[in-house]
Each structure stands twice: as C-alpha cells, then as structure tokens.
Subunit: 399 residues, 2 copies
C-alpha cells in the first residue's frame, strides 16, 4: 500500500556511514570508513568484573525503571570530572544522562528548533548531527572550516544575514571529519558572536580526552558565564559506544525541555550501562585507561600518517594530521573527482567516506574539491598498512 509519510522525514536518507558499516562484513574489505574505537581500546576485563558486581550487589537497580534525568551518582561524578578537567559547570548548570552523545544533539535541536529554523554548522561536519537536525525539521547551513577552526568572519556574516538562526553546532576539539581543533582565540570569539546575535551554542566534545599531541585547549563551555552553551559529551570513545551513554551539561532552564523530549523518546537511558559507567569512574583507574587510549591512537595515527606519506605523493593529495581524535582528512589535489575516487577505492576493497557525505548541502559541494575521511582507530596495524597501499593505488589510478 502507499504510505503518506511525514514531510519532515521524506527527504531524509540513511547515514552514508551507517550504510557503509553494514557492508563491512564483506570478506577482504579493509575499512577506513568507521568511527569505532579500536578493539584493543575496550577495558573488557574491568567491565566484566564491574558487571558481575552489579548483578551481585544491586540486580534490581540494574533492571528496574529509573528516572529520565539519569542515575544521580553518575551525573554527580561526571560533573566532578568535568569541573576538574575543564572548569565546566557553573551554579546555573545541570547535567543529565542521554543515550549517547547523539541523543544529546538531537534533544538540543528539538528544544530550540521548529520547522525551518536554522542551525549553523561547521562545513563539513558530523553527519549524525546533521541528519538529526534535519529530522527535526531544522535547516543546516554550513560555515567553512579552516585549519584553526570555523571561519569566524563567515560565521558572523551568516549570523547577521540568515533569518531564524537558533543554534550554532560545533565540535571544537578534533573535529569530525576534518580532525581540526579550534584555536583558543576563535573559541572566545565564537562565544562572543553567539552572545551578540542571541543564539545558543551546542558544543560537542566526544573526542576531547583523546589528545596525543599539541597543547590542551579548554572547551567553549568553560568560558560560559551566562548559560549560552549546551555541552555534550560521551562515554562512547573513552569506554564503549555499545553502552550508549552520553551526557549533557547546560543551564538548568534548558535541561527540563530536553528531559521532556527524552521522556517521549526512550523514558530513560538503559540503567545497567549507567551503573557500569559510574563504577568505572569510581572503582577503576579511568585516567590510566584514557592515557593508554591516547598512546594507542597516537601510535595508530602516526602509522597511518607514515603509510600515507609513503604511498601517496604530496602532489596527489593533502592530509590534515590531527592532534587527537580518530580521523585524518584527505583532499585530492590534481583530480578532484570524488565519484571516481570512491569507485577506484571500492574496486580495491578499501572503504572510505566521501567528503560530500559530511557537507551541509551535499548536492552543492561548493569547494570544488574532492575530500575523504580516513579512520585509523578501527583497523589493525596490518590493515592500516595494507589499506593505505590500496588507497595509494586507487589515487594513482585517477591519473
């Protein structure tokens, strides 16, 4: 039969990355397409121990309904850690637990945006956020990303000239997909502009703790003295994405709006996972664990960088090497034909995500370049080496 679907969802397509993930089971494919933590990154033994203790000591708590805001001791622990690491958390702020950072982004958009309201985003940006924003009926408008973060002149121009801008969405640290980190100066300037034009910032920081080079830069939220920043973080990249636990810290006037929307979405985040996160924070060495992750990803990034240098001539492509996070961003120099690159790569069984997937307006890739995102956290060392060789072949085949 014919279904009369909502206009809001009619235009939405499934995430290119999620679709690529489904094809990963094809034998022989090496994937640089995912954003998954390395298998070695999971503290499986600790989680197994914690899990056993939870079911021994508090089985009912792990299985019964809980409140929408999330497990209180976990929220308190997250606030303590955010204060210590980043100076985040004023008296007016509150923290809730969400089902992955993804839900935090979507709830923030639902709290502020009606159909055709605008969210200014880094261009390119995280496809999961762009799709979530689109799915609530908001329009995403892109602002160019430079090597030190968003182009603040273009940001101000768009704030001045675009009607109905409600939110600015940013991943200031180790941005997905470009790996770029926004400078301290730009962070302060962006907050100032948001104030000047009366909009709220969503600061998404899933990778912030995964720094393996360069100097720490505090989140925008740490300068937020008036409640203008919704800070979204996550346990996905530091503990486990399968648990689906993220956090939102924002002004206590904003939080109830997000909570009421969350009630309708999933009542509360699964409580067993919240108990795991809480015990991991209080009973295990979370700092030591994250230090190991930093070392692991630093090595993997270095290995991929080295292989790319070896396999791909500087004249053919440029790569942004990040100071943390999970991604290297590549741009073709002489043959900017994205479709052909993906075809040649696929023929060589190397999966990469085309840059256009991350564009606010994928149909109109204004830059006229062909870019692509490479993930180094998921593949094994052997696959990093072999995959870069395949990518090199694919790029040489463009000539």
């Amino acid at each position: 039969m014919d279904y009369n679907f909502s206009e809001r969802l009619k235009c939405l397509k499934p995430s290119a990355i999620r679709e690529i993930l489904k094809s990963l089971d094809v034998p022989g494919v090496i994937s640089f397409a995912a954003g998954n933590p390395a298998e070695k990154a999971f503290p499986s033994a600790e989680i197994a121990k914690i899990s056993a203790k939870i079911f021994e000591e508090t089985p009912i708590k792990a299985l019964q309904y809980n409140i929408t805001e999330g497990y209180f001791p976990l929220r308190a622990e997250v606030e303590k850690r955010q204060k210590k690491l980043h100076g985040i958390g004023r008296n007016f702020d509150a923290t809730i637990i969400v089902s992955g950072g993804q839900q935090g982004l979507e709830l923030a958009a639902r709290a502020f945006c009606d159909t055709d309201d605008v969210i200014l985003c880094e261009n390119p940006s995280f496809i999961g956020a762009l799709n979530a924003f689109r799915s609530v009926g908001a329009k995403v408008t892109g602002v160019r990303v430079e090597d030190d973060g968003i182009d603040v002149a273009e940001l101000e121009q768009k704030l001045r000239t675009t009607p109905r801008v409600k939110l600015i969405y940013l991943i200031p640290t180790f941005q997905n997909p470009t790996g770029v980190t926004t400078s301290l100066e730009k962070r302060k300037k962006i907050l100032e502009l948001a104030g000047k034009y009366g909009v709220v910032i969503i600061e998404d920081n899933p990778y912030g703790e995964l720094r393996f080079a360069g100097e720490y830069i505090p989140p925008i939220k740490s300068f937020d003295d008036e409640g203008r920043v919704i800070y979204v973080s996550s346990f996905s990249k530091i503990l486990s994405p399968g648990l689906r636990v993220g956090t939102v810290t924002a002004h206590a006037d904003i939080i109830p709006k997000m909570v009421v929307a969350k009630q309708g979405e999933d009542v509360h985040t699964n409580i067993f996972s919240q108990l795991v996160c809480h015990r991991f924070m209080t009973e295990c060495d979370i700092d030591g664990h994250i230090a190991r992750l930093r070392a692991l990803y630093g090595e993997k990034c270095a290995l991929m960088s080295e292989c790319l240098r070896k396999e791909i001539p500087e004249s053919a492509a440029a790569f942004k090497i990040p100071q943390g996070g999970l991604f290297i961003w590549g741009t073709l120099k002489n043959f900017p034909d994205e479709a052909r690159l993906i075809k040649e790569a696929t023929a060589r069984r190397i999966a990469i995500v085309p840059g256009s997937a991350f564009m606010c307006d994928p149909e109109r890739n204004a830059t006229g370049t062909a870019s692509f995102r490479l993930n180094y956290s998921t593949p094994s060392e052997e696959d990093l080496i072999a995959g870069c060789a395949r990518l090199g072949e694919a790029i040489r085949a463009l000539e």
Copy 2:
C-alpha cells in the same frame, strides 16, 4: 538569560507519572502510581549468568557500535516468537529493535506526522504515548473506551469528520490505564475502518503476554494482510524495563523511515541489553518465566481486588478488574472530585495517578467523572493491603 525554545516543546509538561516516580523515595509513601514490574519478577540470577557469559565469550560485540536496526539474531528470534504466539509476520513485514516500546511509538509518529496531523487515541490512554505524539507536533484526539474496547461508532465518526488523521493508536490488550481488552469483533472492525479511511494503526502490546484470566485474543496485527498495522512490543514487562529494549514489526516500506529517525535519536539500542534479551530467549526458559509472571500478577491483582472490595463500598467507587497487565481502573461514583481525592490520598501517603493525566485533553475532562489508576505489580503484598486501607480512608473522607 531568556531562551527562545521551540513551539513544539513549549506546551509540553513532564509526565505526571515520571514526576510521581521521583517522589517515591519519600519514606512511608505507598505507591500505586508506578507501572513497574514487581521486584520478584526479575530473573536476576539468570541475567547475571547470561551477562557473565556475554563478557566472557563476546565482550567486543557487547561494547562496540552496532547497526541501527538492531542485533540480527534477536530480531530473528522475536519474529519467530511472534509468529508462534500470535501469527504475526507476513512476507512484507520487517522487525527492528528499539530503545523500549516508547521509542517505537515515538518513531511511528515521527514517520507519519507533521505538525498538526492528528492521531486518534483511546481516551484515556498511555500518557507516555500521548506526550511523545505531542512532542512531534501531532494532535491527539480521544475516542471513548468501553468495557470491550474503543467505541467504534465514535471512532468512525471521528475518522469521517476530523481532518488530517494519520494514525490510530491503540493498546488493545490490558489497556493502560483502564485494563480493558478490546474484543475480537472490535479488533476486526477497527482494522476495517482504518482501511476504509486510509489510516495506519499503531498497535502497542507491552502487556499481551501477562494474561492471568479469560481467553486469548489475537493482536490486530495478526489480521493485517496489507501492512496497515505497526506492531510495537517490549521486553520491559516480561524481562526488564531498565534494559530499554523494545521491538517494532511493520511493513518493510515503513521500517526505513523509522530507522532513519532512530539513527538521529540514539544510533542504535544499547547492544549489551540486546545480547541479554537474545540469550534469555534462546538459553533460558522464557515461557516458564512468563508463566511465573502471570501467576504472580494474577495473585497480586486478586489481592488488590479483594482489598478494594473490603475497604471501599460499592456505592462509593467502581473498579474494572482486568484479565491481565498491571492496572486496575477506579471511578468515583458519588463525589466525582479528582482534585480532592488526590489531596486526601496524598495526605494519607498513598500515591495514585489521577485519571485526567491520561486524557487526550486533560483540561476538558468531558466525562465529568473522577477516575484513577491503581498499579498492583510494584507494591509488596503488605503494601497492597495497607495501601487499599489508606485509599478507602481517603475516599470515605470525601463524603
């Protein structure tokens, strides 16, 4: 600062029940307000064993990202069981895992409704569904519930005269909050009317397996030969609500719309919980477990019924005693003043949910009666006895 929130969420209030749940920690309060499974209902020992096995045998699978549609072996097992129990599942159907039945309801509304589209609902109905529908901008319009289900004459009249009806939302078996089960004849008539007026049905069946009296009636979905019914079920009431695992079975043309909305909400349902549900279905005696739940809730329902008969004269209130599920619905006969009843009950530290909380239009309680929902699954036997005595006192105080 002043925030410019979305119109869609501005009007939404937090669920009265969720808010009541928060106050449950007050010492001395007996709550008939929740919808929680009994503590005795959790197969904690089995889940502890399963959990240990998961972290021993497949730790990475339990912690890594998974696909939005859900863990394939669980989907297959759910389909097999639904086929066996209910004859649900045609060739055109597909099944996905969602983060509790709640998410299934919300995704169905998002797939079909734009702002001001209408969802016809039983009146009263499940407050979590009503709020989810409102939060996506849909209007909920109520149809009276009779002792054998929705008033089908009123349903047809509203289908004929209401513009923009997209969906009918029903809990045909052990309805929340009334406990009413829709008769076989009405189920078939409702499906026929949905076809005649070109609307889709959301059939919500969280309590279906909890029958302790009367005869089995197949779900509407089991008669659905054209893909008109979205069937939502859940592990919350048969295994654990804290795990947040529900299922949706619908035509394969509908499912991708819900999947794309789910990607934006939480990427996927937490995978550890999905593995628990799968192992519970395949490695434990799920039928034996559910048989024990049926006996447990049958006894608790009988105890509450007996206490209500003893404590509250027939002249003062009428009660609908259900054949399954978790709730008894009460209606005051002589002093239909809801606000006073809640005040008197609260003064005696007995928590109940006022009937107006479940109304499609809470401001205009057209029936002019005062009703309330009583839950017998959560309280202990002692609390059932003491709570009914307190409720009796509260009702006598109205005179």
